[in-house]
Symmetry: C2
Subunit: 267 residues, 2 copies
Amino acid sequence: MAKLFEKSVKGLLIDITGVLYDSGHNNAIKGSINAVKLLSERNIPHKFVTNESQVNRDGLVAKLRRAGFDLNPDQILCPVMVCRQYVLSKGLRPHVLVHNDVKCEFEDLQSTEANCVIIGDAHKFFTYDAMNDAFRALMKMKEPLILSMGKGKYYEDCGKLTIDLGAFTAALEYAADAKTVIIGKPSKEYFNMALESLGLKADEVIMVGDDINADIAGAQSNGIRAVLVRSGKYRAERDENHVSIKPNHIVNNLEEIVNMVIKHLDS
Amino acid sequence: MAKLFEKSVKGLLIDITGVLYDSGHNNAIKGSINAVKLLSERNIPHKFVTNESQVNRDGLVAKLRRAGFDLNPDQILCPVMVCRQYVLSKGLRPHVLVHNDVKCEFEDLQSTEANCVIIGDAHKFFTYDAMNDAFRALMKMKEPLILSMGKGKYYEDCGKLTIDLGAFTAALEYAADAKTVIIGKPSKEYFNMALESLGLKADEVIMVGDDINADIAGAQSNGIRAVLVRSGKYRAERDENHVSIKPNHIVNNLEEIVNMVIKHLDS
């Protein structure tokens, strides 16, 4: 524990699903509402960094407010907005395979003669026809390109393991021999954007998450200390003694690490 | 060409879709009805070896008869029957993700506490829910195992490129970290079964197909000479000068190679 604060900590990056609330039921996780309140009251720099792509940023804020969190859109980095920025900055023409609720984010972009396919967690909109449409769009490209909002294998939805968008991305990669750019954790670019929006350097920040791969390994490989929470998709038998991934610390919930950081800053 | 018959040819293995008829429309390809008739009249050993898994063997025979072919079930090796034999021989308990028309082939098998997932070309039955059901079945297994009836990337269906079962297999492999056994071309076991049913050795046989990977490379890597037909999914620009796969010969259609074999046998 002493080691975690060996170098001073100035801010936090915090995952949302499984750290603030449970997926599906959308109930706040014990202590997390208070933890977010403490961060604001103490003016501790923090951003929420999520791979959630079933909703856009406004939808996410609405969801969090319903769960009891007092949050603003500019506190959140989510792949839907970053993907949109990426497409605009590169002048790409996307074919879009996303949840109906986030289609609006891409509707104004040119999509004729598409030169990339954007994949989000379309959930029930991952239909056979939608997969074929995306596949055919890729097959028409000279260099088939997928922009995938994360590449998760699965997540827990209303208590049930559910196949994540990474699997559908893998399917299209295989069928069309496509190349994939990941927009989200654990990509370097995504963590860099988060640090930039915080105005801090990698070694001044702690990432807090429930995903041993995207959050913990992802942050560490970008020079950011990473703390695992025992909530969300965390599983003791798999995560506490992982063969290769070692969190810098493990806490029961977000409130615990926030209190530790406050104590560290006060000392 | 002389090289093709340098060693004597005693029999043929013949792909069905794209060689006998076109997928989707199910029209016989020019000359193929006559070619099949010639093989029977001349008593030349031959078997039809397909990766078609949208129908079972009886369904396939019915389809071929409607297209004008005079064929019997025992002339055909198809992955649905081989998969059933594989499951029975290993005492496996399958969860089944296949086209509704072939479900009947597996209905009598024990499926509680499944220890493998069978994937066929389910076509429109590759729904989000069906993918999740198969994924959850895999996640309950100690060693997640997929039996995939081929692992094609795509095929032409009514003139449209259509995503093949290999992509959905890749999705489930990725999500559940599963191992896959391929039941169909280009697997060694499948070609061996075909040779056994012909009663001939690899170097006595020619494989005729339209798929540069499953048919041509598959046969050759099992010591079988391979002839590509310019029908079905054949594409001149891709297949005629393939960087690594070189058919032993290329013909316009099945009738052409059958006439060549007859001439060879008569000489």
